[in-house]
């Protein structure tokens, strides 16, 4: 046990190597709880192991570990984006192109879920049916039952895939609406929007 602890201090101990191997084979994010239950150790030790791995990667590897949708996911280092994109066409398939309308609708759903289509339309003041369909096709939004009111309208929620695509640990990682009131969109929004609109394939019904 003492030997094990010493290894851990030096960096890559058995636990780190086990966690690394599990993250390597998993295509989806894996939670600390799941890793802990397989390895029979505490969640805190798994978290520590991930942190050690992350630090080791940051120093001398081409990889990183992201915290997405409540789980850990091994990924390529952000600074190597261009190299990886040029190397493999299939990785560009991981990108989801969204128009400004789709992002706005997604933002309304994320902050009001579960929410009906007409509630989204009340906030956006334009029809959103096709945009919502597009978001569903991308798997970013799902139907979460029906509201108990006149006409039993469908309720929509964001999915885990939404968290994965946007690099969020959970829905709570989003800034609050209050904080967003003063969020500067000049430099952050103009570019990404143009980027999103240039690459968009969908036809939004409000633009």
């Amino acid at each position: 046990m003492q030997q094990f602890d010493e290894n851990e201090k030096n960096g890559m101990g058995l636990l780190e190597r086990q966690v690394e191997a599990m993250l390597f084979v998993s295509p989806q994010p894996v939670s600390s709880l799941e890793i802990a239950s397989y390895l029979g150790v505490s969640q805190t030790r798994v978290d520590d192991a991930v942190k050690t791995l992350k630090d080791t990667y940051a120093r001398s590897h081409g990889l990183t570990i992201l915290y997405l949708a409540g789980g850990w996911q091994m990924a390529t280092s952000p600074d190597l984006a261009e190299t990886i994109e040029a190397f493999s066409n299939s990785v560009s398939m991981q990108k989801v192109r969204l128009s400004k309308a789709a992002l706005e609708t997604l933002s309304v759903i994320a902050y009001n879920q579960p929410v009906t289509r007409s509630e989204i339309e009340d906030i956006r003041s334009v029809r959103c049916d096709r945009v919502v369909d597009t978001l569903m096709k991308h798997g970013l939004v799902r139907i979460a039952g029906r509201k108990k009111s006149v006409g039993s309208p469908l309720l929509f929620r964001t999915t885990d895939r939404f968290l994965e695509i946007f690099g969020l640990a959970g829905i709570n990682s989003l800034p609050t609406l209050e904080e967003l009131k003063d969020y500067k969109t000049e430099e952050t929004a103009s570019d990404p929007f143009e980027r999103a609109e240039n690459g968009t394939e969908e036809d939004d019904n409000d633009e």
Binding site: E104, M136, I165, L177, L180, K181, Y183
Partner: protein, 263 residues
């Protein structure tokens, strides 16, 4: 707004010598009905426009005097109602530009309201900017691509949606099984894919007349053919027969069966 409107409608009512509509719960002048429908206070899908036209025809017959202007006014109001009804029944058919106009017209009644809406929406718009920024950041890292990911993503909705899809599919399957292959050997296979000829439409008109003379048939029955060519020719034949006044087409309730009868 209401007072002003009532004053206007009163004058117009006198001018039109009192044509009043009685449609379901509504009773009053046509322009009021049109206003209520356009301001979304009444559901256009519930309007029985055939009944409206019948009432107007009765009014014309009874009054025996009407000016061209009054008739034009009726057509104007009736077509506005018809347009609203079509929109309410086929929301997906409206194009984007029209939606934008509607949104502008209906939602922003005044500047204050517009400012209020913008104020509510601003954090969400900023939220969209934030999402775009974090997505860009996230896209710099790539993950392993598993084989499972290449399988398509299915979202079948809730249990209600799934059940209704299942019943529809079962119906189609049973129908197909009952029909067998006889459909495939139909004489209609000879019809080229180009625009149907007049002769084909005339032939279909005769066939349809023979069927509906025996008994009134629903549009669903007449269009049950799976073959695209037959469908097109049948629809053209029905339109032509309707234009020539050879058939009477009625629908007793909204979204109910459309009945076609020989005149």
């Amino acid at each position: 707004m209401t007072e002003q409107f009532e004053a206007v409608s009163k004058n117009e009512k006198e001018d039109r010598r009192g044509f009043e509509v009685q449609l379901g719960a509504f009773s009053g002048p046509l322009d009021l009905l049109c206003h209520l429908v356009e301001s979304r206070e009444m559901d256009p899908a519930q309007l029985n426009l055939t009944e409206l036209v019948s009432q107007y025809v009765r009014f014309l017959v009874n009054s025996k005097r009407t000016t061209l202007n009054e008739m034009a006014e009726f057509f104007s109001f009736a077509s506005r109602l018809l347009l609203r009804k079509v929109h309410s029944l086929f929301p997906a058919q409206r194009d984007a530009a029209e939606d934008e106009d509607l949104a502008d017209e209906d939602m922003y009644t005044d500047e204050e309201e517009l400012m209020r809406m913008l104020e509510i929406f601003r954090p969400y718009r900023n939220g969209a900017g934030y999402l775009a920024a974090i997505q860009k950041e996230r896209e710099c890292s790539f993950i392993r691509i598993a084989d499972e990911e290449s399988t398509p993503f299915y979202d079948l909705g809730d249990l209600y949606g799934l059940a209704s899809l299942w019943w529809q599919m079962l119906d189609r399957y049973n129908e197909k099984r009952n029909l067998g292959d006889c459909c495939e050997e139909s004489i209609w296979d000879d019809i080229p894919d180009a625009i149907p000829e007049e002769r084909q439409v005339e032939q279909r008109m005769e066939e349809l007349l023979r069927s509906i003379r025996k008994k009134e048939l629903s549009l669903r029955d007449l269009l049950e053919e799976r073959n695209k060519k037959i469908l097109i020719v049948t629809l053209l034949a029905l339109l032509e027969m309707s234009r020539l006044g050879m058939v009477r087409i009625t629908q007793s309730e909204t979204l109910g069966d459309v009945l076609v009868a020989a005149v």
